[in-house]
């Protein structure tokens, strides 16, 4: 922290080990009293050279690499990548595969939005809501594990379709989960719309009005909460979205409260899409054979990620490896607006204003690796649960009597 000899102005560096978000970013905030008069955003600490790595790997290897662009919305990246390659190769995927892609995409949106809602609640000291939403998110992650085999980095997509089919039992489980979740989401919506503490804390915070949202090219819920009705599922329907009614949720508050309301309503819309898919998913194959060598050409592939428009540019040179891959993830677009959301606001609002664009941060798998002497042991679900029970016992809490239903996929 330093005075910059300019009256009462104070420069405050925050990060790159950010105190609230589990991802590195640096903010240089200039304060006049409690007011933020200037903000500089520094990102790039997580650049992993992934696009360069794509150029020396074949398309199938790249599929797994691309899925790891983001731990939260991995499916949207593998979908954008696959459909880009499929376009270059002239492949048309089976309808059933397109429906499965949509279902996983909407499950991903649900868990991403629930995760965000919890983080946002935590940022404003509303930890009860954080606990509630993360508890509900587990229901979605359990379904994702059942359908895909994984809670994150689902590995469901392949070039030419999907790798796993869904059966009737899975569809029933999704339907049951949707019914249970709907009540909770409606409760969160009611909270956001009527709870005075929430509206007092979020209303007018991190404002990015319509004109600025257009100017800085923000996307997804950040743009839609400022009155911009862009949604790639509607603008340029992909997978099976052309057959599925999708109603983009738009709000005009242009602040953190608006972003909260948009995301909660989008979850209800996701449940409607899931129900439509369960009812209308056609029978048939789930993939077509794809060539290893992809014809030369360029493609721009887009999907609507939970955080907004996701763009993949792919250039093929006719071999089995791409010549150039460029991923423009939605958070990259939304960072542009952060500076303007912070300026004019209070220092205390900085964490929630940043969190409200839902910047990506890592999501860890449930399995952990424990070093034990010279060897290493990978814990399975039961082992992890036992570890948790023992840890709490040591700290004076006995949770061994809590019953958790066994699932076949753990």
């Amino acid at each position: 922290m330093s005075n910059n000899n300019n009256g009462n102005r104070i420069e405050l560096p925050i990060g790159p080990q950010h105190p609230s978000l589990k991802e590195p970013a640096a903010f240089w905030i200039t304060l006049e009293g409690e007011r933020v008069v200037n903000a500089v955003v520094g990102v790039g600490y997580n650049h992993r050279g992934l696009e360069k790595a794509c150029e020396s790997r074949n398309y199938i290897q790249n599929l797994y690499l691309i899925e790891r662009v983001c731990g939260i919305c991995s499916h949207t990246h593998s979908t954008a990548f696959c459909q880009g390659i499929e376009e270059l190769a002239g492949l048309s995927i089976p309808k059933r595969a397109a429906y499965i892609r949509v279902m996983v995409a909407e499950l991903e949106r649900l868990h991403s939005h629930l995760l965000w809602l919890g983080v946002a609640a935590h940022e404003i000291g509303f930890d009860t809501m954080f606990m509630y939403t993360w508890r509900d998110r587990e229901k979605v992650l359990d379904i994702l594990a059942e359908v895909c085999g994984n809670r994150v980095n689902y590995g469901i997509n392949t070039i030419g379709g999907v790798r796993r089919d869904v059966d009737e039992a899975m569809l029933q489980d999704i339907s049951k989960m949707a019914d249970e979740l709907e009540n909770q989401i409606k409760y969160y919506l009611e909270l956001a719309m009527t709870e005075t503490t929430l509206s007092a804390r979020l209303s007018g915070v991190g404002r990015l009005p319509y004109e600025d949202a257009l100017k800085f090219g923000v996307v997804g819920p950040v743009a839609r909460s400022a009155g911009i009705a862009d949604d790639i599922r509607v603008t340029e329907p992909y997978a099976a979205y052309g057959e599925i009614p999708v109603n983009p949720v738009v709000d005009t508050r242009a602040d953190v409260l608006g972003r909260t309301v948009v995301r909660i309503k989008e979850m209800l819309e996701s449940l409607n899409i899931l129900r439509f898919c369960i009812k209308n998913i056609p029978d048939g194959d789930i993939s077509v054979k794809a060539p290893l060598r992809i014809p030369a050409g360029e493609v721009i592939s887009r999907t609507e990620a939970p955080r907004g428009e996701n763009i993949h540019f792919i250039r093929s040179n006719g071999t089995d490896k791409p010549d150039r891959v460029r991923v423009r993830a939605p958070s990259e677009a939304n960072w542009r607006g952060v500076k303007h959301m912070l300026e004019g606001g209070y220092l205390a609002d900085v964490p929630i204003a940043i969190a409200a664009i839902d910047p990506c941060y890592s999501c860890t798998d449930r399995a952990i690796v424990v070093d034990s002497g010279n060897g290493r042991k990978v814990m399975d679900w039961q082992g992890l649960r036992q570890y948790s029970i023992d840890w709490y016992k040591k700290h004076g809490i006995d949770v061994s009597s809590v019953k958790i239903p066994e699932k076949k996929y753990f």
Binding site: K52, G217, E298, E309, I311
Partner: protein
């Protein structure tokens, strides 16, 4: 609402040099060939001011052998993407910043500087992106001749052999 074909027609009518250099790639996609700097800037300004391409999504840098390529992705309210391409020689990789028309491009143009070694004139001041402080000068990792095998992350130095690894099979 202007269709893709109407936009292409409009562009060709306005700029004679675009004939045979702009085409509808598929529904919602319009591509141009690589254009000279002055031509590129004229088309970009017209697309912004007259054709309703209000948003620039990003810029894709490419290595085109002796040149660097810059593909600007602009979109209109109907979701049509115009991929406008510009080229500059590696020996003099100077382009003008387009942040005057599209402020959203600032970070993407910084990436062209760090990763491709482009010189972007009139780019607003700000922190570099995305390479870390102390990255070796003159080392541009997204160029095709940059090989990660020769980068030492402990000393932050890039030490390619004189033949740039060609005898070992080139860029792996």
């Amino acid at each position: 609402m202007q269709t893709e074909n109407e936009i292409v027609e409009n562009l060709c009518k306005k700029f004679g040099f675009l004939r045979d250099k702009v085409y509808v790639q598929r529904q919602k996609r319009i591509f141009t060939e690589f254009l000279a700097k002055e031509e590129f800037e004229q088309v970009l300004r017209y697309a912004h001011d007259e054709l309703g391409f209000y948003r620039a999504s990003h810029v894709v840098g490419t290595d085109e052998g002796d040149d660097l390529g810059f593909i600007y992705l602009l979109s209109d309210k109907n979701g049509i993407i115009l991929a406008l391409k510009e080229k500059a020689p590696k020996s003099d990789p100077v382009i003008n910043s387009m942040t005057g028309k599209y402020p959203s491009l600032e970070q993407h143009e910084r990436e062209l500087v760090d990763l491709f070694g482009a010189v972007v004139k009139d780019l607003p001041e700000g922190p570099s992106y995305p390479l870390p402080d102390g990255w070796p000068k003159g080392s541009y990792p997204m160029r095709k001749d940059w090989d990660p095998r020769y980068f030492d992350k402990n000393t932050m130095t890039y030490n390619p052999p004189e033949d740039n690894g060609k005898k070992e099979g080139g860029n792996k």
